[in-house]
């Protein structure tokens, strides 16, 4: 069949909202874009375990310790589904992990910010998971089948995490003066990085046009960001806290909140590796992987021996 026919059939499927499956023909660029995005998403889940993992040993109550452990474990689970979805596009998990460690593959910059107090566990759940959900709800309808299906499972857990995060802050917001200050401080530190999670402004986002045409993405970065601001600007009132933006106010003609300028210099610096924790996060991942090598080798050697024994018997 002619190449342009294949491409036409592919685009027709997309236009008719039929999912693209691993064995279907797809343009190379579609495969590459999905692979890049899904693996980046998987890496984000795994690197994202680190900032919150920091607080498992220091969680302020046994109940909070259990909830936090379960949450960080959920992220490992999300990483697993996503690596599996990415593998259907023809790359092994080991290769993806190598790409992460060598710096060829990226992960969400938000995880390069430090978790300094317990309140950060609340702010991450509420703001970071909240921002992630905006994107992920959209992705449950993405055109690549395995990615869309992974997202359905992930979204259920993420919205639970967001409620848990909000609840952490709600307790602090009703607590002592020190707890209230801790709560406000965490919101101040996480607000702008959370807005940056939606990526560059629409005019400056390099991968957006084809991603929209192929329905990998269905909403633009700025649309999702606005939706997020509108939601959080209301929710913050329930905490009796404020967002650190003097320009934030309801615009009745647009029916949206106006908000201030994002510091794009900071955004690009963190993307380039100069965030507060870029080096630590990557070093922690590499260390775990290197120190786990002998364990993985032992497991393979043992499995091979067992197989041999079975065949001999």
């Amino acid at each position: 069949m002619e190449h342009h026919n294949l491409e036409q059939i592919f685009q027709d499927k997309i236009d008719q909202e039929i999912k693209i499956e691993p064995r279907d023909w797809m343009p190379d660029a579609y495969r590459k874009t999905n692979l890049r995005q899904i693996s980046q998403h998987a890496h984000s889940e795994i690197v994202g375990m680190l900032p919150e993992g920091n607080w498992i040993s220091r969680a302020p109550s046994l109940k909070r310790k259990s909830i936090l452990l379960a949450k960080v474990q959920d992220e490992a689970g999300h990483g697993l589904y996503l690596y599996a979805a990415a593998e259907t596009l023809g790359q092994s998990r080991e290769q993806m992990i190598e790409d992460l460690h060598s710096g060829r593959a990226k992960y969400s910059s938000i995880f390069n910010y430090p978790t300094l107090t317990w309140a950060d566990m609340g702010a991450i759940g509420w703001l970071v998971d909240g921002a992630a959900i905006m994107n992920q709800v959209m992705l449950t309808r993405t055109s690549y089948g395995p990615y869309a299906r992974a997202m359905v499972r992930i979204c259920k857990e993420e919205s639970f995490h967001q409620r848990q995060g909000f609840e952490v802050l709600l307790v602090l917001s009703k607590g002592s003066d020190a707890q209230k200050a801790m709560c406000q401080d965490a919101i101040n530190r996480w607000w702008w990085p959370a807005l940056m999670m939606f990526g560059p402004r629409d005019g400056e986002s390099t991968n957006s046009d084809m991603s929209m045409k192929w329905k990998i993405k269905r909403k633009s970065n700025d649309e999702l960001r606005q939706q997020f601001v509108d939601m959080i600007a209301e929710q913050v009132k329930l905490l009796n806290m404020t967002l650190p933006d003097e320009k934030l106010r309801w615009n009745d003609s647009k029916k949206h909140y106006d908000f201030g300028d994002i510091n794009w210099d900071e955004f690009w610096q963190v993307v380039k590796g100069n965030g507060p924790c870029n080096k630590e996060r990557l070093a922690a991942r590499k260390k775990a992987w290197e120190e786990g090598r002998w364990v993985r080798e032992a497991a393979s050697a043992y499995a091979a021996k067992q197989k041999q024994k079975q065949q001999a018997a």
Binding site: Q73, A76, L80, K174, A178, E297
Partner: protein
């Protein structure tokens, strides 16, 4: 049996599961492979869950509005009664796995005895926990086999883990006064545990261990610990103690 013995024994169970859970929790996000990161966190969640059941029961026995968090966060090094084994540092995956195997098989035997014990609350917690503990035994002992009978390196690391941890298993079978009061049969515990561990070691191609040929440390059950516990508690307890009297 006095109420004090029952409280002490319940705290021994609570502290041991909390401290081991606290140790294991450090693996979350740092495991050797993603599937095992998830698996050890499952074990950790179970241990913390068990500790909460025991602390809640101890708090109820103590009365006066005592809570699980007061017991976990506001007691000091010399008040903790956990087995020394539980506070030993994580080391490598071999050490962590072996520590878990030793403790899970001990829990299996101990909780089986508690099923038929006089205290119905402890029986109920033991019954619920046994379902988890049986899985922990399977998961951890399978890893002992993989590492023991895997590569030369993993075999050597497993031998090092045995050498490191073995001196801490003897204490499990030396009855503390509160265990004697509760009629815990440590002799049966010990022989069942040794049979099970010997079977795992045989399967794992590790030399059979002996409880008589090694010096055994004791003291944890009565509040005399290794240096490691103080650091662990400092980290575990610091938020509560920095902001006394707060809800979290």
């Amino acid at each position: 049996m006095t109420n004090a013995s029952l409280i002490d024994f319940t705290l021994y169970l609570a502290d041991s599961t909390l401290i081991l859970g606290q140790r294991n929790g450090d693996w979350c996000g740092h495991g050797p492979v993603l599937e095992q990161d998830i698996a050890i966190t499952n074990v950790t969640l179970d241990l913390i869950g068990q500790s909460r059941s025991f602390y809640q029961y101890a708090a109820q026995l103590i009365g006066n509005g005592c809570t699980e968090d007061q017991l976990a966060y506001w007691r000091n090094e010399r008040e903790f009664k956990n087995a020394l084994l539980c506070e030993r540092p994580n080391g490598d995956w071999a050490q962590t796995i072996l520590r878990q195997t030793f403790f899970s098989f001990y829990q299996r035997e101990l909780f089986t005895q508690l099923l038929h014990g006089a205290d119905t609350t402890l029986s109920a917690i033991a019954e619920k926990s046994l379902k988890e503990v049986r899985y922990h035994c399977r998961w951890s002992s399978e890893w002992v086999c993989r590492l023991g009978d895997g590569t030369q390196e993993s075999h050597e690391r497993m031998l090092a883990a045995v050498e490191n941890l073995w001196p801490y298993v003897g204490e499990l079978f030396v009855a503390a006064p509160y265990e004697t009061a509760l009629q815990i049969d440590t002799a049966t515990l010990k022989s069942n545990w040794m049979d099970a561990i010997t079977a795992v070691f045989t399967e794992a191609t590790l030399p059979p261990p002996s409880l008589t040929s090694t010096f055994m440390h004791t003291g944890g059950k009565n509040g005399q610990h290794t240096e490691a516990l103080g650091y662990l508690l400092a980290e575990l307890q610091y938020v509560q103690r920095s902001y006394p009297g707060c809800e979290w």
